[in-house]
């Protein structure tokens, strides 16, 4: 793992207001290539809003986002952000339910393929070869999760178990060819053995050359995979550091448990 001096993702003074509500206030975050960064914080602390602004779903009210060689992606619509190399999953799964498992991953590949209407309608060799390659790559991405998804390639996404739907969301995000993967509560609803499996999956995906930022409430997972942890509260960055540093930071304990608990600690 090499860490270049320049961060892959550089967020400066990022703010998002909804009317009078300050959902994000002056967030500064650097993420270096190859890191697995965990974002923690109580519900409503702005974690998912941060992902939504990063991925272009909500336009930022202020601040800048620099990503890799792209100087400023703050104003880009979601599909352009994805084409720059940022992919994400959703906290409340948003799979393409009536499409098959394989088609879900293929849908992630649309922006990485080129064939136009006429070559497709005429079934020209170029379009056919591109489609075959896309399907082969999709199979390979299903294979990231061992035998969890591969045997179910032709089932509809809606028929999958909860954990498999989470895995499919990750495979679909990987299909867009990202350098940065944002995972929004990937372990939510998973049992302990599934969470353990997910942790090794996340590390394996990082080892494929990706950088990962994840939001998670499961502290066991955060402790296990994250090289660095950032704590959010009330739309602000409270602190960052190793899991141990952040876990014992008085402001973090106060945010989770209240003022008196923080004093007692």
């Amino acid at each position: 793992m090499t860490m270049s001096d320049r961060p892959l993702l550089e967020v400066r003074g990022l703010s998002k207001d909804f009317g009078g509500l300050h959902a994000l206030q002056g967030i500064d975050i650097d993420v270096h290539a190859g890191e697995i960064v965990g974002i923690i914080g109580p519900n409503g602390s702005g974690k998912t809003t941060f992902f939504n602004v990063l991925s272009g779903i909500f336009p930022a009210s202020a601040g800048t986002i620099r990503f890799a060689e792209h100087q400023n992606i703050t104003r880009l619509p979601p599909h352009r952000v994805t084409r720059c190399g940022i992919a994400r999953t959703f906290q409340n799964q948003r799979l393409f339910n009536q499409m098959t498992v394989l088609e879900n991953v293929c849908a992630g590949m649309v922006s990485r393929t080129r064939a136009g209407l006429l070559p497709i309608m005429l079934a020209l060799p170029g379009a056919r070869a591109e489609k075959a390659a896309a399907e082969q790559r999709a199979m390979e991405l299903l294979g990231v999760f061992g035998t969890r998804l591969v045997p179910r390639r032709d089932r509809r996404a809606a028929s999958l178990s909860y954990a498999n739907r989470r895995r499919l969301e990750i495979a679909r995000a990987l299909a867009t060819g990202p350098r940065l993967l944002l995972l929004d509560e990937p372990a939510a609803g998973m049992n302990p053995s599934e969470t353990r499996e997910l942790m090794s999956d996340i590390v394996r995906i990082r080892d494929r050359g990706l950088t990962i930022v994840l939001i998670e409430h499961d502290m066991h997972l955060v402790k296990g995979v994250c090289s660095r942890v950032i704590a959010f509260d009330h739309g602000e960055k409270l602190t960052e550091g190793t899991f141990g540093e952040v876990r014992n930071h008085p402001a973090v304990i106060e945010a989770y448990l209240g003022h008196r608990a923080a004093v007692a600690a």
């Binding site: 979601p78 009536q98 499409m99 849908a107 497709i120 178990s161 995000a173």
Partner: protein, 327 residues
């Protein structure tokens, strides 16, 4: 369907379709079957917009009308133009595709009911233009339409009988089936279906939803354009009343009845919606009543359509159960 069956089913269906004129006894029935194929072509086009991309279009008949009139303009004494059939047909297809984009563009931000209402409006505008554009300059011929349209002719053979039109329309319907399948299983089809399932997630997966929706509108409209040209050349005349709102509803009913998104389903839907009123012709007074009742019964017992792409509701995945037990 097992793969080895599928290999035989396509040639079998094609052979059956080609043999139909040999076994159908009279021109009236041949005419009904030909109309089924024409409406199947239209329904396949609407299926791209509604079934694949999930955009509810209630003004689809507008494209059918535009296609018909473009053909009528280019191949009739109305403007004194007599373009060859294939050229006039291509012009209808291209023109309707352009109108598909023009009408699609302002509706891109609309969803569901709102999109339906706006497209309904476009359908009505088209009808009103067709009926009123005979003054101050006579463009559409007004309520009396355009007559004496040229029949199709290739290599010196001019089509006259219903069975000849049947082969022509069947060929274009077959092409529509092939194009629908290729598009559905392509990167463009993946994008359409993703938009249908979850537009925001589709955007976040890097799909340019604006471009994909416009492509759906253009392709869907162009099928109707081909259908319109075929109608004009078969009927030898076009009237605004061929393109009433009820036609949009009929075509949509074909798509929904057979199963939204399913290609065989849409063809079956076209067959039923065209044939049933003919079968009930003896009870002309009660025809619409019986037809409506039949549709209601179907929607109660099979709301997903006769041959839906969703298939029957799925039981628990046996593979999932094995995994669950292991944990």
């Amino acid at each position: 369907m097992p793969a080895k069956w599928q290999r035989f089913s396509v040639p079998a269906i094609v052979a059956l379709a080609l043999a139909i004129p040999a076994v159908v006894p009279n021109a009236y029935q041949m005419g009904v079957i030909t109309r089924i194929c024409l409406y199947a072509l239209l329904a396949l086009g609407l299926n791209i917009v509604v079934g694949f991309a999930g955009l509810l279009d209630l003004g689809y008949v507008a494209f059918f009308g535009i296609g018909s009139y473009v053909y009528a303009f280019l191949a009739s004494p109305h403007f004194g133009l007599h373009w060859p059939f294939l050229l006039a047909l291509s012009a209808s297809v291209v023109t309707t595709a352009i109108f598909g984009v023009l009408i699609g563009a302002p509706t891109l931000r609309l969803r569901g009911d709102y999109l339906a209402i706006v497209t309904l409006g476009f359908g009505e505008i088209t009808y009103i233009l067709l009926i009123n554009l005979d003054r101050p300059i006579n463009i559409t011929g007004g309520p009396s339409g355009i007559v004496s349209i040229d029949p199709p002719s290739f290599l010196g053979i001019t089509l006259r009988d219903n069975w000849q039109y049947y082969y022509l329309i069947l060929a274009l319907m077959g092409a529509a089936v092939a194009l629908s399948r290729r598009l559905r299983d392509s990167r463009i089809g993946w994008a359409w279906q993703a938009i249908r399932e979850d537009e925001l997630a589709a955007q976040v997966m890097g799909i340019n939803t604006v471009a994909a929706k416009l492509q759906a509108f253009a392709i869907g409209a162009s099928f109707a354009g081909a259908g319109g040209a075929l109608l004009a050349s078969w009927q030898r005349s076009v009237f605004p009343d061929n393109f009433l709102f009820t036609e949009s509803v009929n075509i949509l009913a074909m798509v929904i009845l057979g199963g939204v998104g399913s290609i065989p389903g849409v063809i079956l839907g076209a067959a039923l919606i065209v044939a049933l009123p003919e079968i009930f012709r003896d009870f002309a007074l009660y025809r619409l009543l019986a037809f409506g009742l039949l549709l209601m019964i179907l929607m109660i017992f099979r709301p997903e359509g006769l041959l839906s792409f969703k298939g029957p509701p799925e039981e628990a995945d046996p593979l999932e159960q094995v995994t669950a037990e292991r944990q």
